[in-house]
C-alpha cells in the first residue's frame, strides 16, 4: 500500500518543481493525444512550443499576450490566496473593454493625449463595478461568489452582443457586429517600434511588482490571508472578513477591467465580439500555475502567452484545431494540482495491512 503522509514542513523544492513537472506531463500527454488525432507530433511540438521564441516578431506577440494574462492573474491571485474565488474575470474583462470603448464610440473625433489613459481608467472602473454585485452578494447575502461571478460573465457576453448588434454597431461596418475603428489618440503607445507590444506590458509588470511588495511587506496582506483562511480567528483578532472579500473582488475586477481596456485600446483597436480569447479563464490557470505568488505568476503568464501564440502557429502549420490549446491549458492545471499535493504530502510505502 502507498499512503500520503503530511510533511513536517512544506517542501520548497517541490513547490518550484511542481509547475515544471506539470508542464512536462501536459506536453507528453497532449502529444500522445495529437498523435492519436493523426497529427505529426514533431510539427505540433515545434509550432506550439518552439516557434513562438524563434523570431523577434513571434516573441513580441508572446509579450503582447503576456500583458493581459499577467494583469488579470495578479488580481485573481490576491483573492485566491484569501479563498475568495472570483472566476468571473472574463466578464470583468469584457466590461472593462466596454467602458473603455465608450470614449471613442461617443467621441470619435476627439484628439489629445488624455484619451487612452482615460480609457484605461474607465476600463478599470467598469471591471470593478462588475465585481460589486458578487461582492455585495457574498458579504450581505451570503451567496457563493463562484456562481455569481460566473453568471455575471455570461451576462457580460450578452451585454457585449447587444451593444455590437445595436447602439454601438459601426454604421459603415457592413453590418458586422463591431464598433467603429478607434482614432489614433485612443490607442496605447507602442513600446517597441515595429511590434504590437504596448505600454500596458509595463502596467502589468508594475502590477506584479506592487503585488509582490504588498505580499512581502505588509501587515494588510497578513490580515487578508487570515481573513480568508480562518475567518473566525480573523474576527477575533479584529480583522474583517468582509473587507477581504470586498477588496479581493474589487481588485480582481479592477485588474481584469484594465486588461480589457488595454486590449481594445491596443492590438484590437475597436470593440468586437472576439475581444477576449478566454483570457479571464486562462488567467485562473495562470494564477494557480504561478503558485499564487506574484513572481511565479510572471513566469506562468509568460508561459501561457507562449501557448496562445504557439496554438495559433500550430493551427496554421500543423492543422491543429484552436480547441487543442484549451485542452492543453486544462490538462496543465490538472497536472499542476496533482503535483502540488507533494508540496505538503509525501508518499510512503506501508508494509502489511492498511491502517
Amino acid at each position: 500500500m502507498i499512503r500520503l503522509v503530511r510533511r513536517d514542513r512544506a517542501s520548497r523544492r517541490m513547490a518550484v518543481a511542481a509547475p515544471l513537472l506539470a508542464l512536462f506531463a501536459a506536453i507528453l500527454s497532449n502529444l500522445i493525444l495529437f498523435v492519436a488525432m493523426g497529427k505529426d507530433p514533431g510539427a505540433v511540438f515545434y509550432a506550439l512550443l518552439l516557434e513562438p521564441f524563434m523570431t523577434w516578431s513571434g516573441f513580441s506577440e508572446v509579450l503582447l499576450k503576456t500583458a493581459p494574462l499577467l494583469l488579470i492573474a495578479q488580481g485573481l491571485a490576491i483573492g485566491f490566496r484569501a479563498k475568495v474565488f472570483n472566476i468571473g474575470a472574463e466578464g470583468q474583462f469584457i466590461l472593462g473593454a466596454i467602458f473603455a470603448s465608450a470614449i471613442p464610440v461617443y467621441f470619435p473625433q476627439a484628439t489629445g493625449g488624455w484619451i487612452w489613459p482615460a480609457m484605461l481608467v474607465m476600463g478599470a472602473i467598469g471591471g470593478a463595478l462588475w465585481a460589486v454585485v458578487p461582492a455585495f452578494w457574498r458579504v450581505r447575502l451570503n451567496a457563493n461568489e463562484i456562481l455569481v461571478t460566473l453568471m455575471m460573465s455570461l451576462i457580460a457576453v450578452q451585454l457585449l452582443n447587444y451593444l455590437l448588434l445595436g447602439p454601438w454597431k459601426d454604421p459603415m461596418g457592413f453590418n458586422f457586429p463591431q464598433s467603429v475603428m478607434f482614432q489614433y489618440d485612443a490607442m496605447i503607445p507602442i513600446l517597441f517600434p515595429g511590434t504590437r507590444v504596448n505600454v500596458s506590458l509595463l502596467l502589468a509588470f508594475l502590477a506584479a511588482l506592487l503585488a509582490w511588495i504588498y505580499m512581502q511587506r505588509s501587515f494588510g496582506c497578513y490580515q487578508f490571508l487570515v481573513g480568508g483562511l480562518a475567518p473566525k480567528a480573523a474576527t477575533y483578532a479584529g480583522f474583517s472578513q468582509s473587507r477581504a472579500i470586498w477588496l479581493s473582488l474589487l481588485i480582481g475586477g479592477f485588474a481584469a477591467g484594465l486588461a480589457g481596456a488595454a486590449e481594445v485600446a491596443g492590438p484590437i483597436g475597436q470593440l468586437q465580439r472576439s475581444i477576449s480569447t478566454g483570457y479571464g479563464y486562462a488567467a485562473i490557470i495562470v494564477a494557480y500555475l504561478g503558485g499564487l505568488h506574484p513572481l511565479g505568476i510572471v513566469a506562468s503568464s509568460f508561459l501561457m502567452a507562449a501557448l496562445y501564440i504557439g496554438g495559433d502557429n500550430a493551427m496554421v502549420s500543423a492543422d491543429l484545431p484552436v480547441a487543442a490549446v484549451r485542452v492543453f491549458q486544462g490538462s496543465l492545471l490538472v497536472f499542476y494540482l496533482a503535483a502540488i499535493t507533494f508540496v505538503r504530502f509525501r508518499l510512503v510505502r506501508t508494509g502489511g495491512a492498511p491502517a
Binding site: W137, N144, L147, M152, G166, I285, A323, R326
Partner: protein, 303 residues
C-alpha cells in the same frame, strides 16, 4: 398553440438537462464533495453523445458513451480531490476547463450539423386534455428522469444508503469511526454525478436541441450547481427549481416569437439574472442553510 400551452408542453424537456445534472450533483454534495466541473462534464457528454448519434450509433449508445466520458472526467476529479486531497474548488474548475476544451476539440468537425431527436411518448388519455395535455406527451428520457427524481428522493428519505451518504457528508470522521469507508463512498457518489452530467449533456445535444454547436451547454452546468443550492439539497425543491428554469428558457423563446420589444440578449440573460437573484434570496437565510446544508461540503478528508 398559445404561449402558455407551448411552455407547459416543453417545460419538462427544457428542464431535463438541468434536472439530470443537478440530481447527480445533489448526491455528490450530500456526500460532502463539491464538484464544480459540471459544465465541462456536460459539454463533453453532449459532444460525444451527438457524435455517436450522428455516426449512426443510435441514442442508447450515445447516452452510454456520454455517461462513460462523464465518469471518466469524474474519475480525474476524484483522483485529485479524493485521492490526493487537493483543493476541490480548483480541481473542479480544472476538470471543467478540460472537459470544455475536449468537447470543442472532438466536436470541431461536427459544428452546426443536426440529427433527429427522439419521438414523444404520450400518456394515453391525459395527453388529450386541453391546455395541459402537452405535458403528458414527452420523450422517454423525460419520463426516465422523472423516475430518477423519485428514486433519489426515496433513497435519501427511506434507504440506508441515503442515510450513510448524508452521514459521510455531515461528519466524515464520525462516519469513519463507526466503520464506513468514507473515501470509497464519496468516489461512488462522484462517479454517479459524472454519469448524470454526461446524460444531461447527451440529452441537451441529441434530444432537446438535436444539433452540435460549440459552447451549446451555455452555462447550464453552472445553473445546475446553483439549483442544488436553491433546492437547499432537497430533491423535491431541486425538481421544481429545474422546472422553473425550463419554463424560463421557453418563456424567452415565446417572447421572441411574439415579437416583444425586448432585446433578445436580455431574454438570453434572464436565466443568469434569475440565478443571481434567487441565489441571494435563498442564501441570505442562514438558518435554512444551516439546517439543510452539508456540514463538511468541499473539505478534503483523509487519514
Amino acid at each position: 398553440m398559445s404561449g402558455i400551452e407551448f411552455i407547459l408542453a416543453g417545460m419538462l424537456a427544457a428542464a431535463t438537462p438541468f434536472l439530470l445534472a443537478a440530481l447527480g450533483e445533489l448526491v455528490v454534495e450530500r456526500a460532502g464533495v463539491l464538484n464544480l466541473g459540471l459544465e465541462g462534464m456536460m459539454a463533453l457528454g453532449a459532444a460525444i453523445g451527438f457524435i455517436v448519434v450522428y455516426e449512426g450509433g443510435g441514442h442508447v449508445a450515445a447516452f452510454l458513451a456520454a455517461g462513460l466520458v462523464g465518469v471518466g472526467l469524474a474519475l480525474v476529479f476524484a483522483g485529485l480531490a479524493l485521492g490526493l486531497r487537493a483543493n476541490q474548488v480548483a480541481v473542479g474548475l480544472a476538470v471543467g476547463i478540460l472537459g470544455q476544451g475536449l468537447s470543442s476539440l472532438v466536436g470541431n468537425s461536427y459544428e452546426s450539423l443536426t440529427i433527429t431527436g427522439l419521438p414523444k411518448l404520450a400518456f394515453p388519455g391525459l395527453s388529450d386534455l386541453p391546455v395541459v395535455g402537452g405535458m403528458f406527451s414527452q420523450d422517454i428520457i423525460v419520463w426516465l428522469s422523472l423516475i430518477a427524481t423519485a428514486a433519489i428522493w426515496a433513497m435519501f428519505r427511506y434507504s440506508r444508503l441515503g442515510l450513510i451518504l448524508r452521514a459521510i457528508g455531515e461528519n466524515p470522521a464520525a462516519a469513519r469511526a463507526i466503520g464506513y469507508r468514507v473515501t470509497a463512498l464519496r468516489l461512488g457518489a462522484v462517479v454517479f454525478g459524472g454519469a448524470m452530467a454526461g446524460f444531461a449533456g447527451a440529452y441537451a445535444a441529441t434530444v432537446y436541441t438535436p444539433l452540435w454547436a460549440d459552447g451549446m451547454i451555455a452555462g447550464r452546468g453552472w445553473i445546475a450547481l446553483a439549483l442544488v443550492v436553491f433546492g437547499i439539497w432537497l430533491t423535491g425543491r431541486i425538481f421544481f427549481g429545474a422546472l422553473l428554469f425550463g419554463a424560463l428558457s421557453l418563456a424567452s423563446l415565446v417572447a421572441q416569437t411574439e415579437g416583444w420589444a425586448v432585446p433578445s440578449q436580455l431574454l438570453s440573460s434572464l436565466p443568469y439574472i434569475v440565478t443571481i437573484v434567487v441565489l441571494g434570496i435563498i442564501t441570505s437565510n442562514k438558518r435554512l442553510l444551516k439546517v439543510n446544508g452539508v456540514a463538511s461540503l468541499g473539505e478534503p478528508f483523509g487519514p
